[in-house]
C-alpha cells in the first residue's frame, strides 16, 4: 500500500500549503465577487454584468460575477448572507430578497436568511410593472378591468412567475386595495408567464415593461396601467394605479447591491463611493439603455427608506395571500 500512502502524503503536502489568508491589506487587495442569485440571462445577471464591469473600473480592482442559483434565488442570497463580511463577496439582489424570508416564515420554516443580514449599498434600477391584457379582450382601461373583476370574482385569470414570485406579488398589491379577486395560474418563471398570455391561456399579466413592449407595439397585448410612482417613459399614455386612486398599488422590479451585515464601515464607504462612480460610467449607461432598464440610483438613507417601505409592503402582501388555501 505504499502507493496509497504516497497519495495521502501528497495530498497532505498540498493541504499544508493551504494556510489561511494573509493579514488585511488596504481594501480592495484581491478580486471581488458579485453574486447574482439567478442564472445567466435573467434580469439579475444582465444587471450584474455591467455593474461589475463599471465597479471594476471605479475600484481599479477585478470584480467577477458568479451565478449562485437555486430555489428562486434563496441559495445565492443565503450564500452571501453567511459569507465573510470583508467586502469581497457582494450580492446583486432583486425585489424577491424581501419576499423569500416572509414566505419562509409563513410556512413555519427556518428562514434561509433574513433581510437584516445584509447592509444595503445601492439601488441600481427600479422598473415598475405594468398590467397587460390580450388585445382581443374587452377591457380598454384599468377601470373597466377592475369593474369587470368585481362583477365576476375569481373568473379573470392571470399568469405569474410563480407563487409568491414578484409578478404574483405585484398583482396582489393591486387586487387588495381594488377589492377584486383574480384567479392565479402560476408558471415557472417570467418567460413562461409571458408565453401563456400571448397564447391566450390567461387574461392578464403584471410584467416588467421591457419584455412586453414589443408585443404591445405589435398589437398583441394592451397595457392598462402601471404600478409605478410615475408613468413609464416608453408608454406615456398609460396611467399609473396611483393616478387611478390606488396609492398602495406600487411595485417595482428593482435591483440593488448588498454586502453582508458586519462589513467594516470604511469598506462600505469605499464601495458606496465606487458604486456612485460606477453608475455615471458611460459604458454602464449604454448597457442599461440597451436593456431598456432605467437607472434609478439611490444610496444611504434614501435607499434604506425605499428598501424598508418596499419590504414592508411585500411582507404585508405575502401575509395577506397567506398559505395557498388548500383544505387539509
Amino acid at each position: 500500500m505504499t502507493l496509497a500512502r504516497t497519495a495521502v502524503l501528497l495530498s497532505l503536502v498540498l493541504l499544508a500549503g493551504a494556510s489561511p489568508a494573509p493579514a488585511q491589506d488596504a481594501y480592495p487587495s484581491r478580486p471581488i465577487t458579485l453574486v447574482a442569485p439567478f442564472p445567466p440571462g435573467g434580469v439579475a445577471d444582465l444587471t450584474a454584468r455591467p455593474v461589475a464591469a463599471a465597479l471594476e473600473k471605479a475600484l481599479r480592482n477585478p470584480v467577477g460575477v458568479v451565478n449562485k442559483t437555486g430555489a428562486a434565488g434563496a441559495v445565492g442570497m443565503q450564500y452571501v448572507a453567511t459569507s465573510k463580511p470583508d467586502g469581497y463577496t457582494l450580492l446583486l439582489a432583486l425585489s424577491s430578497i424581501s419576499i423569500i424570508p416572509e414566505a419562509d416564515k409563513l410556512f413555519g420554516r427556518q428562514p434561509a436568511f433574513t433581510v437584516d443580514q445584509f447592509a444595503p449599498l445601492a439601488l441600481i434600477s427600479a422598473d415598475p410593472t405594468i398590467l397587460v391584457v390580450p388585445a382581443d379582450k374587452p377591457w380598454k382601461t384599468a377601470k373597466e378591468f377592475i369593474e369587470d373583476a368585481k362583477k365576476r370574482p375569481g373568473q379573470i385569470s392571470f399568469s405569474s412567475s410563480g407563487v409568491y414570485g414578484t409578478l404574483h406579488m405585484a398583482m396582489e398589491l393591486l387586487s387588495h386595495p381594488a377589492g377584486i379577486k383574480l384567479r392565479h395560474v402560476p408558471y415557472g418563471g417570467a418567460g413562461p408567464a409571458l408565453t401563456a398570455i400571448l397564447g391566450g391561456h390567461v387574461d392578464a399579466l403584471a410584467s416588467g415593461p421591457a419584455v412586453v413592449l414589443p408585443h404591445i407595439r405589435s398589437g398583441k397585448l394592451r397595457p392598462l396601467a402601471g404600478w409605478g410612482d410615475k408613468r413609464v417613459a416608453a408608454l406615456p399614455d398609460v396611467p399609473t394605479f396611483k393616478e387611478l386612486g390606488y396609492p398602495d398599488a406600487e411595485f417595482y422590479i428593482w435591483a440593488g447591491v448588498f454586502a453582508p451585515k458586519g462589513t467594516p464601515e470604511p469598506v462600505l464607504a469605499k464601495l458606496r463611493q465606487a458604486l456612485r462612480q460606477a453608475v455615471e460610467d458611460p459604458d454602464f449607461k449604454g448597457a442599461m439603455d440597451k436593456l431598456q432598464t432605467p437607472i434609478a440610483f439611490k444610496q444611504g438613507e434614501e435607499f434604506q427608506r425605499f428598501f424598508d417601505t418596499d419590504a414592508r409592503r411585500l411582507a404585508e402582501g405575502v401575509r395577506r395571500v397567506g398559505k395557498i388555501e388548500i383544505k387539509k
Binding site: 445567466p40 441559495v75 384567479r183 395560474v185 402560476p186 408565453t195 397564447g199 414589443p214
Partner: protein, 510 residues
C-alpha cells in the same frame, strides 16, 4: 418562395463572412466540447458561456450561441455510445443501444450514424424552420397547460416500449422516478416537499445528476471491479463505418426522428427532452425485430439522435417568429439579444433581416461544419476504447464530477449523482432497468404542473381536457394506443415481449 431564396442569399452573405463563420465555428466546437462533457448539456453550456458573448455584436453572439446549442446536441451522443454516460439529458436513450453497439465492436458505426442522423435532422429541420416558422409559431402558442398535460401523458405511454424486460418492473421504476421528481418547492403552493432543510433541493432533483449517476457511475461501479476487466476493443478502419445493412436500417428512423423532433421541439416548454424517448419507442414499435433493442439496434441510435437535433431547430420557431421565450434555451438566447440592444419580438424578421437570415444560414453552415468535424473524430474517439479500463474509468469519474458540478456549481448535485450511482448499481444487480426512472424524473414536475395549472384555469373542472380540441385529440390518440397495447391481453395473441419470454424459457429447458 423566390423572396425566401433572395433572403437566404442575404443570410449566406452574412453567414459566410469570415468573422461570422469564425464564431459559428467556435460555437460548434465549444458546443461539441460541452456536449461531450457528461452532464453539461446545451442549457448549461449556453448559460455558462453567455457572459463571454456580451462583448460581441448581436449576430455573432447569436450565431455562436446557436452553434453551442446544436453542437452540444451532436456531442452528447459521443460519451453515451462509448462509455454509457449521457452527455446531456436528451442522449439518455442513445446510451442503451449505442453502448451495446460499442461493446459489440460497432462503436464507430454508432458514432457515424449518430453524426449523419444529426446532420440530416439538423439540416432538414432548418428548411422547415425557414418555411414554416410563422404559421407554426401561432399554433405552438395554442399549447397551454391542458394540451401540455395531454402530450406528457402520451409521453408516459412510451414506457411500454422502453424496456425489454417485465412491464411490471418498468412501471415500478417509472413510479420511483416520478416520485424523485416530486422533491423540491411545489411551484403551485410554495410548499417545500421532501427537502429536509437542504435549500439546494428547492429546485428539485435535476435530470443531469440522475442520468449520469444511474447510467455512467453505475456502469463503472459494476464493471471496474470485475476480475477480468472489459476487453480492450481494437477497432479496424474498415469497421469504423456503418455497413450497408446498418445504413439501410437507419434511414427510416432518421426521417421519422426528424419530423417528430421538430414537431415536439416547436411546443413551448421543456418537452423537447421527451422527443428522444418518444422516437425510441416508435422505432421499437415499428421494428421488425424489437427484441434487438437494448442489445445494439442501430435504429435505437439513429431515431433518438435525429429527434433531439431536430428539436433544437424546432425550439427556435416561436423564438424567432414571435420573440417568445418558449423554453429555457430560447429564453437565454433572447436575453443575449437584449444585451445587444436587439429587441426580440414579432418584428424581428422584418427589422433585423440580416440577423434572422444570417442566423438561418449559419445553421446550415454550422451543421455541415459539425459533420465534417465529427466524422474524422469518430476514429479518434473510438480509440479511447483502447485505453485500459483501470485508467479509463478514473478519468470518466473526473469528467462526471466536473460536468455535474459545473451545471449549477452545486455539490448537492454531485451527491445526488453519487446516490443515484449506488442505486443504479444495486438495481442493475437486481435486474431492474433504470431508463424508466430517468423518464419519470423528466416528466413528473411537468405533468403535475400542467395538470394543476389546467385545473386552476378551469376552476377545477376536468372538462377543460376534452373541450379544447388539441388536448382532446392528443388524449384520444393516447387512449387508442393504450387500447392497442391491451389488445394482446384480450385477443390472447402473444406480442413480442411474450414471445421473447417464451423463447427464453425454451432455451433454458433445452
Amino acid at each position: 418562395m423566390l423572396e425566401t431564396l433572395a433572403n437566404l442569399g442575404l443570410g449566406f452573405s452574412v453567414a459566410l463572412s469570415p468573422p461570422v463563420l469564425l464564431y459559428a465555428f467556435i460555437g460548434t466546437v465549444v458546443g461539441t466540447l460541452v456536449g461531450v462533457l457528461p452532464g453539461v448539456g446545451p442549457l448549461a453550456g449556453i448559460s455558462l458561456l453567455l457572459p463571454a458573448t456580451y462583448g460581441l455584436d448581436a449576430t455573432r453572439a447569436i450565431v455562436m450561441l446557436a452553434g453551442i446549442y446544436y453542437g452540444a446536441m451532436y456531442g452528447g451522443s459521443t460519451t453515451s455510445i462509448l462509455m454509457r454516460i449521457p452527455g446531456e439529458a436528451a442522449s439518455v436513450m442513445t446510451c442503451i443501444d449505442g453502448y451495446a453497439m460499442a461493446r459489440k465492436g460497432r462503436a464507430g458505426a454508432a458514432l457515424a450514424i449518430a453524426a449523419v442522423g444529426s446532420y440530416v435532422a439538423g439540416t432538414a429541420s432548418i428548411v422547415a424552420l425557414m418555411f414554416l416558422a410563422p404559421p407554426l409559431a401561432g399554433l405552438a402558442l395554442r399549447f397551454g397547460p391542458p394540451e401540455y398535460f395531454a402530450l406528457l401523458l402520451l409521453g408516459l405511454l412510451v414506457l411500454a416500449y422502453m424496456s425489454g424486460g417485465s412491464m411490471l418492473r418498468a412501471l415500478a421504476m417509472a413510479a420511483l422516478g416520478l416520485l424523485f421528481g416530486m422533491v423540491g418547492i411545489d411551484q403551485m403552493s410554495g410548499y417545500f416537499r421532501f427537502a429536509y432543510g437542504v435549500v439546494e433541493l428547492g429546485d428539485g432533483i435535476g435530470i443531469v445528476p440522475v442520468a449520469v449517476g444511474l447510467f455512467g457511475l453505475a456502469e463503472i461501479l459494476a464493471t471496474a471491479g470485475q476480475p477480468t476487466p472489459p476487453a480492450v476493443i481494437k477497432p479496424r478502419l474498415r469497421e469504423l463505418l456503418p455497413s450497408r445493412r446498418e445504413w439501410g436500417e437507419s434511414a427510416a428512423p432518421i426521417g421519422r426522428g426528424t419530423v417528430l423532433g421538430f414537431l415536439i421541439g416547436v411546443i413551448p416548454g421543456s418537452a423537447h427532452i421527451i422527443s428522444s424517448f418518444v422516437s425510441y419507442a416508435i422505432e421499437r414499435k415499428l421494428s421488425k425485430r424489437p427484441e434487438e433493442f437494448g442489445k445494439g439496434a442501430v435504429a435505437g441510435v439513429a431515431g433518438p439522435e435525429s429527434a433531439n437535433n431536430s428539436a433544437t431547430s424546432g425550439a427556435f420557431v416561436p423564438m424567432l417568429a414571435l420573440g417568445v421565450p418558449s423554453g429555457p434555451i430560447p429564453a437565454v438566447m433572447l436575453a443575449a439579444m437584449m444585451v445587444h440592444g436587439v429587441s426580440p419580438g414579432p418584428f424581428l424578421i422584418k427589422q433585423q433581416p440580416e440577423l434572422f437570415w444570417g442566423f438561418i444560414a449559419s445553421m446550415y453552415v454550422g451543421n455541415l461544419v459539425l459533420l465534417i468535424l465529427n466524422l474524422p473524430l469518430v476514429g479518434l474517439f473510438v480509440n479511447l476504447l483502447r485505453v485500459p479500463y483501470p485508467i479509463l474509468y478514473p478519468s470518466i469519474l473526473v469528467f462526471s464530477v466536473l460536468g455535474v458540478y459545473a451545471v449549477n456549481g452545486s455539490v448537492v448535485d454531485v451527491w445526488i449523482m453519487l446516490l443515484m450511482g449506488a442505486l443504479g448499481y444495486v438495481l442493475r444487480k437486481l435486474d431492474f432497468e433504470t431508463a424508466p426512472i430517468v423518464l419519470g424524473v423528466v416528466l413528473a414536475p411537468m405533468i403535475e404542473m400542467a395538470l394543476r395549472q389546467s385545473l386552476a384555469m378551469s376552476d377545477g373542472r376536468y372538462a377543460i381536457f376534452v373541450t379544447r380540441p388539441i388536448a382532446a385529440t392528443l388524449l384520444a390518440v393516447g387512449a387508442v394506443l393504450l387500447l392497442l397495447s391491451l389488445k394482446p391481453l384480450v385477443m390472447h395473441t402473444l406480442d413480442w415481449r411474450a414471445r421473447l419470454a417464451l423463447a427464453a424459457k425454451r432455451e433454458e429447458h433445452s
